[in-house]
Amino acid sequence: MNRAITRKLAAAATNAYQSKVLRKNLCGGANASAATSTQINNHIHEDKQSFTHTVHPYDIAIVGGGMVGMALACSLATTPLTKHLNVAIIDSNPALGSKVSIKKEDPPDPRVSTVTPATISLFKDVGAWQYVQQHRHAYFDKLQVWDYTGLGYTKYYAKDVNKDVLGCVVENKVLHSSLFSRVEDTDFQKTIHPSRLTLMSLHPSSSSTVESSSSTEASYVNGCLAKLELSDGSSLYAKLVVGADGAKSQVRQLAGFKTTGWNYSQNAVICTVEHSVENQCAWQRFLPGGPIALLPMGDKFSNIVWTMNPKEAADCKSMNEDDFVKAVNHALDYGYGPHPKSSLLASADMFSWLGGNLVISANDSFEVPPKVVKLASARMAFPLSLMHAKDYASRRVVLIGDAAHAVHPLAGQGVNLGFGDAFALSRIIAEGIAVGMDIGEVSLLKKYEAERKPANVTMMAILDGFQKAYSVDFGPLNILRAAAFHGAHHISPLKRSIISYASGEQRLPLFS
């Protein structure tokens, strides 16, 4: 099949280079000078002849064009020091290049994320939030957390920390298309390679003595570039490879980063549901098998994230819709245990000696979440695990997002950590360029690691702690948890600290 080539070919071919080509030669890479907007890279198959060409190396190759990879591209595109960079985005999703138009009438996708205020402000900084606001999105300013024992509950209000919102629930596809639209707005040189990464070479082997007319090949042999080979046979060179390809990261594997982690014996079932009234509060109830969360999406829709053991998850996925709706209502209401009693004013006074202004929510009583009327989307289930890469960076390679860390969804933090990574990396790259550094240098990438790793690890440890604490049904532990609920609800400085930390305003969960 012939397709048009959209880049220049250079003059002579050396025999040495031709001998390196093992099979049908496919031309990869894009003409950097011609690209001022998205180009889908096209290839041509040639049986007999092989082309040699001046493959212009990319500055950065982002492997994985999902939310986090696109956030990095967007941030690079909108920073003055990095907007001149030539970037390749490698993602096998064929829909990536084309403009995805999301209509208002589209049913809500079950894959959503809760973005924290810190992430919202990062989005606003790059100018992508305006696109999010054009589609369905739901701010929430109240959060109620309780468990099945009925011994305690906590209500968080955004007003407690003098903010308007605790977070915003947005569909993943909306976040992604907003970032992509923002990149398209700029004249950022990016090339999308609709392919999968198969091989990555950071250190050229000593046996490759190529007498090549291509300066790119020479740079690669000298160790200045990384070489990426894709599943469609093309190859490209880049100064820096960014692994944004998710929890099963190919980049992480090929670069040899070791990971620690474990599987939770839990699966998460997600779906969208509808209410008869508007839901403006986020709800989370810890059940014996795992938490169930009800997140407002706007337009009377809510998203359910229900964590349970794999067998029950399979059952939930396969049972008919009405049964599932009944099960959800049961889980949110009287299932597994009673409602907690509302706090009395007396108990509020008990903690007032700790100082700090009493938060308004301490006086608020327990509320029952709105009833689910019907299911509005398909149900999806996926396994949960914790994963953390021991290193985020080495020479010419760096990991961001789920490729570096995977967490339990119980606090809605996962993608926010990823966005934090992406924007931090973009800033670090700008700082490196400001002082003329080679962007693939280890010292620069380690600076990124030193900034993000402590924050990520701390958050992961806390979430893992919660997961473990809530997975045991043991009398004394239940009472301890109840005490924790009461404490978090009534001790104002603690509550403010928790809200600030979960909102991303505070880097570490210490009293400030």
């Binding site: 003055p80 020091l81 990095t82 001149h84 300066s215 740079s219 000298n222 160790g223 200045c224 700082e431 490196g432 360029i433 400001a434 002082v435 003329g436 550094m437 080679d438 280890v442 010292s443 030193a450």
Partner: protein, 332 residues
């Protein structure tokens, strides 16, 4: 604080008054001796086997200081680009030095600091370039860079490393002892090596050719030089009128003795023992004075401080240990 220093210096006129009785005698002699320009040339560098035509002269006590310095650097030359080797502190300090250069040079030459290549169109010479640690980032920032060093070993390593990346392979490296400047694209066999006996760190050939640069940068060099006054005069000769001269070095203070000598060399083993001679350090006042004598007015000064918790260097007002001075040459 830097401005207070400069006003204090305005009062100093006579160099003899500036002689501090606490200074070791050698330092004073080194700084303020008025040797006539027609002095016989200093002895050539410490690596006679490399260019065996050099004649070795051991006439003055100060020339042996220079030999020792060169020998020190020759021994560790191969590890220039090893970021965990003996040059690790320099690698760690590099981004901070470049940040200072970026802000001062952009302000002086009215360039936009928020672009990736702010030094486009500027001709910069890196005096005492060593392995090219400073020259390469400057080239990446768009400058036309010439790097010069007294040790041929250093120049070879610099040239080799710069050739790896197309952006930095445009840097021109010169060895001051051989006197000739190699252009990167010139074939080795076409060169004729002249052994010119230089009297300073700076190639007389460049000075004679009246090659001038927009910015002359000599970082962490002046503390290794035999005659700082002559050195500064040569730097000034290379600078365009109205151009910039930047010098960084270590202060001669009790604190710098404790930090740069005792801690860095003996305790932490950051630097090989004997890398620095405390008596060769210059105080900011002295540096400003000798630059003034060379028609360069120091406009800005800053210090580098190291944070042991983060392992990073940063710019600060504290010039008690490492400091950097930015000056401009008097225009015509």
């Amino acid at each position: 604080m830097a401005s207070k220093l400069l006003t204090k210096l305005g009062a100093i006129r006579d160099p003899k008054i500036a002689r501090n009785p606490n200074l070791p005698l050698n330092a004073t002699r080194r700084l303020f001796s008025h040797r006539p320009i027609s002095t016989p040339p200093h002895s050539p560098p410490s690596s006679p086997p490399d260019n065996g035509k050099s004649a070795h002269k051991k006439s003055k006590p100060t020339s042996s200081l220079k030999d020792l310095e060169l020998a020190k650097f020759s021994a560790i030359a191969d590890s220039w680009w090893d970021s965990v080797g003996p040059f690790k502190p320099l690698h760690a300090m590099n981004p901070t030095r470049l940040a200072f250069l970026r802000s001062t040079l952009c302000r002086h030459f009215r360039k936009d600091p928020h672009v990736a290549r702010p030094f486009e169109g500027l001709k910069i010479v890196d005096v005492g370039c060593g392995g090219g640690i400073l020259s390469e980032p400057l080239a990446r920032m768009g400058a036309t860079v010439t790097g010069i060093d007294a040790l041929e070993k250093n120049i070879n390593i610099a040239r080799l490393h710069a050739g790896l990346d197309p952006v930095t392979s445009t840097i021109e490296y010169c060895c001051t002892t051989a006197g000739g400047c190699w252009h990167p694209l010139v074939n080795e066999s076409q060169l004729s090596i002249h052994v010119v006996q230089c009297s300073s760190f700076v190639p007389q050939k460049l000075v004679k050719e009246q090659k001038m640069f927009d910015a002359v940068i000599a970082l962490e060099v002046i503390e290794h030089v035999a005659d700082p006054t002559e050195f500064c005069k040569s730097l000034s000769a290379l600078t365009h009128p109205g151009g910039a001269t930047v010098i960084s070095t270590i202060n001669r203070s009790m604190r710098s003795y404790a930090t740069a000598i005792v801690a860095a060399e003996y305790l932490l083993h950051w630097l090989p023992i004997g890398t620095h001679q405390w008596s060769s350090f210059l105080t900011p006042e002295e540096l400003v004075l000798i630059l003034q004598r060379a028609s360069i007015n120091v406009k800005e000064m800053a210090g580098f401080v190291y944070n042991p918790l983060t392992g990073r260097w940063s710019l600060s007002d504290d010039i008690s240990v490492n400091f950097i001075a930015f000056g401009t040459k008097n225009g015509q």
